[in-house]
């Protein structure tokens, strides 16, 4: 934890790399949410751009396929007036080590300022942050089963917008928590922001091995777990898990863990339904719920741009020399 902290924050406590929620602090998370809030007005401008990162070069370094995350990172960078390079590298398990470092050295030689990295291996973004040149910031856009911190922050942003505050909320995360980097980052962020009751609802095979360590309440029955919740976050069921022994059929999964109007009625009347996308209609969530009035799934996508603008501009400022500026 200490080590992660040292890597993520500079000597003044400012964000330098954004790799995981762990090791950060409540105030920093609030600063990210507040800064994101102020970026929301940029989309109301005729010219949807601010000149903040003009002249900076941001590389989207994707070793794993992604559409939504990559495009919202790209849009966020462009709205900050940065130049963006998209590089998709098909990662084979053996193509790491020296090859990865060589890729980094080459990008550094092109005078890039920030890497936004997605990788199938947990810890890959830490590795890159450790080995990148000192002037480069690294943002984790999802690494293996480890963390997806910008997704968690856009979810926190959405919750704050809809519910106002965090303290009194009951939040349930439903689905494959065990293999989900999104859920891991969400749990850390929710508890850091003061949510008292975080529940995970999943079949026994999809619960993390030591749920107590996360400070969550575990339910195996969806109906029981949904009672009185304010926010329910559905996770995408990765179909590749079906082939393993950990799950019954899609149909059976939907019967037990799929979110329907009827099950949702057990939650609070003003419950908010979230999903990081892409959604599997009829597997983890019924279309009527996904498209219904309590769903904020598309708002989450819009908020992703503002939150990523905030994280990128905050990470970029850690390289600045500390100086007093006059205004007027």
């Amino acid at each position: 934890m200490k080590k992660k902290n040292r890597l993520q924050l500079d000597e003044n406590g400012k964000l330098k790399h954004f790799l995981t929620i762990e090791g950060l602090n409540r105030q920093l998370l609030i600063d990210i949410l507040d800064t994101a809030e102020s970026f929301t007005s940029v989309t109301e401008q005729t010219i949807k751009k601010v000149p903040l990162l003009r002249g900076k070069t941001i590389v989207n370094l994707f070793f794993e396929a992604s559409t939504r995350t990559r495009t919202t990172f790209e849009l966020a960078a462009k709205r900050l007036s940065a130049d963006v390079l998209n590089i998709n590298i098909q990662a084979s398990a053996t193509a790491k080590g020296e090859t990865l470092l060589d890729t980094l050295r080459n990008l550094e030689a092109m005078h890039c300022d920030m890497f936004v990295v997605r990788h199938a291996d947990s810890g890959a973004t830490h590795f890159i942050a450790q080995h990148a040149a000192p002037h480069i910031s690294v943002i984790n856009a999802g690494d293996g089963q480890h963390a997806h911190p910008t997704q968690a922050m856009l979810d926190m942003f959405t919750i704050r917008r809809v519910k106002g505050e965090f303290h009194k909320l009951n939040v349930a995360i439903v689905g494959d928590v065990r293999h989900s980097r999104v859920a891991r980052s969400q749990i850390h962020a929710l508890s850091m922001l003061g949510v008292e009751d975080v529940r995970i609802i999943a079949p026994k095979t999809l619960v993390p091995s030591e749920p107590e360590a996360f400070g969550v309440h575990v339910y195996h029955d969806l109906r029981e777990g949904l009672r009185d919740v304010d926010v329910v976050i559905m996770l995408r069921l990765q179909k590749e898990r079906m082939r393993g022994a950990s799950l019954p059929s899609e149909h059976e999964y939907f019967q037990l863990y799929g979110l329907t109007e009827e099950k949702l009625a057990l939650a609070k009347p003003d419950v908010t339904v979230m999903h990081p996308g892409p959604i599997n209609r009829g597997v983890e969530i019924d279309s009527i719920v996904a498209d219904g009035p309590r769903s904020v799934i598309l708002q989450q996508v819009s908020h992703g741009i503002a939150v990523r603008m905030a994280v990128m501009s905050m990470a970029m400022q850690s390289h600045l020399p500390v100086a007093a500026g006059g205004r007027g």
């Binding site: 507040d34 809030e37 102020s38 601010v50 100086a323 205004r327």
Partner: protein, 168 residues
């Protein structure tokens, strides 16, 4: 440390009077008033009342347009800008508390033009002091203040609004 308080009501009246005679001489009917965060918004609220303007007040936070981001970074207390109406082809009155180097106004122009193309912009400030670093001047000024070495002028508010010169 000593402090000298200036008469804020008189100063606001003075800006309001200058503004209304400019609006009259230029024959401008329905201007849009926009205050610059934070002090400029407080001043704009007062002027908006005094001039009995019909159009809702807009606010501008120029943090993302400052020319010193590469030196000082962003302030987490940034507020969203809110412009309730399109500024396209409209006459805009931009309001700030203190006009000093002119850099804030330069940033405000840039942000405003990202929202549209106003017919005209005029600048109203509560106080102007020497020290311009850009060729920018105000159309309506509450009062001109000459500060000695080490003196600072500060507007505090929103309730009550006070304007003081302090010596560090």
């Amino acid at each position: 440390m000593s402090a000298k308080e200036l008469d804020i009501d008189q100063t606001l009246d003075h800006v309001a009077q200058s503004l209304s005679s400019i609006l009259e001489s230029r024959n401008i009917q329905a201007p849009i008033m926009i205050g610059i965060h934070t002090g400029g918004v407080w001043v704009a609220e007062q002027l908006h009342q005094r001039l009995k303007l019909d159009e809702p007040l807009g606010t501008l936070d120029i943090s993302f347009y400052r020319d010193d981001f590469t030196r000082v970074g962003i302030n987490p207390q940034v507020q969203p800008s809110t412009l309730p109406l399109s500024v396209d082809d409209r006459h805009v009155i931009l309001v700030d508390d203190v006009l000093y180097t002119g850099r804030t106004i330069r940033a405000a122009f840039n942000e405003l033009f990202d929202y549209g193309r106003p017919a005209s912009i005029m600048l109203a400030v509560l106080v102007e002091r020497d020290g311009r670093e850009l060729p920018i001047q105000a159309d309506a000024v509450g009062q001109h203040v000459s500060l000695e070495e080490g003196e600072q002028i500060k507007l505090q508010g929103p309730e009550p609004l006070t304007l003081t010169i302090t010596q560090a």
